[in-house]
Symmetry: C2
Subunit: 190 residues, 2 copies
DNA sequence: TCCAATTCCTAGCGGTGCTAGATATGAGAG
DNA sequence: CTCTCATATCTAGCACCGCTAGGAATTGGA
């Protein structure tokens, strides 16, 4: 019986190794550099092994994204918790969100731009995604007024997402980043 | 002499045919379906001909994007021109921007998400891009107050871009789209 | 009419994600 | 302890991608 347990454990470890290798490679060289051949070489197994864990490359990217949701949620929670007042909370949360996106661009892309077939309506994504979203909601609650809170949250989120993506693709001048963020925060501050 | 003129004209026509074929194919089936082989078949020439017009596939996508900038700018200009008052102008411009992105998703992607090496600092892109950006600027000018106008414009633009991209990738509920847009418009209305 | 230059195509390179079929491994039965 | 059989893994290959070298065909001018 224990041998089966061991094999299951080893299998789980290998699955995590695949995710970690994909994550590290994507962060270091971008998703284009993450090929199934390089991934297989990294974990020291042959290519087809990947397909016994994941349906395809997209599923591996989705797994990396899932880890990202947990990370981002934690960062946002922490930012709001340490803010002095509600107004500062909006600024701190926005800064934390943007910092995450800038420091882990590849993961951010996997979460929000690539891999459309993420399990957005099942399993463990909602847990961490909802955690982060709820935290955003609480942050902007003071400014929601008579608007629907969820709608205001989504709009604020979209503003952050737009700033992040446009700047990283070179459409916005990097120098004015902080000022743009300040404008957005001001529009969503109590 | 006239034969050379004819050949240059035919060459220009073929170049436009490539761009149009890429545009149509991308709109119909997405950029993944736009391969150099299909493009070549579409214009009834062999693959290498494409490379005598463009440096590579990215350059073809950039050319499609350039056409898109002109289209978007025209739509935005028209929206602002027909608005009854400054407040309505913000709403109309936002609606026109979002409508363009939703009706021509592939072109919007080529303009703002893919193809990083766009000639953002030369030739004819700045003309149409600046045209659209200037129009956005005039629209939000009443609300700029003591903030820098360009910064406010970029932030408003980022909000629109965020709404568009997050919704099309399935991260936002489609039903509440108009309400989110209203929230954003309200935050940037005089 | 012949030559030279340009235009265009055929064929192929190295890469991708993914998979079928063969092979090695190891657990359980006799 | 040996044999059998299922499971795990690998080798080899498919169809496709963007891109390019080199040869064939066409064309304009002498």
């Amino acid at each position: 019986m224990s041998t089966q347990a061991r094999r299951e454990r080893e299998r789980a470890e290998r699955e995590q190794a695949i995710i970690s290798a994909a994550r590290d490679l994507a962060l270091a060289e971008g998703w284009d550099a993450v090929t199934t051949r390089r991934l297989a070489a990294e974990i020291e197994y042959s290519q087809p092994v990947l397909y016994s864990h994941f349906k395809g490359k997209d599923a591996i990217m989705a797994a990396v994204a899932v880890e990202g949701f947990a990370e981002l949620a934690t960062a946002v929670v922490s930012a709001r918790a340490s803010a002095a007042d509600p107004r500062q909370a909006v600024a701190d949360v926005a800064a934390a969100y943007v910092a995450f996106a800038q420091q882990r661009p590849a993961i951010y892309d996997a979460m929000f731009t690539l891999a459309v077939d993420l399990p957005f309506a099942s399993q463990d994504v909602p847990t961490d995604l909802a955690r982060g979203f709820a935290e955003l909601s609480e942050t902007v609650r003071p400014v929601a007024a008579d608007d629907d809170l969820e709608t205001v949250t989504e709009t604020f989120w979209a503003g952050l997402h737009g700033l992040v993506t446009l700047m990283r693709s070179g459409r916005l001048r990097r120098a004015d980043h902080d000022r743009r963020l300040a404008v957005l925060v001001d529009r969503f501050s109590p």
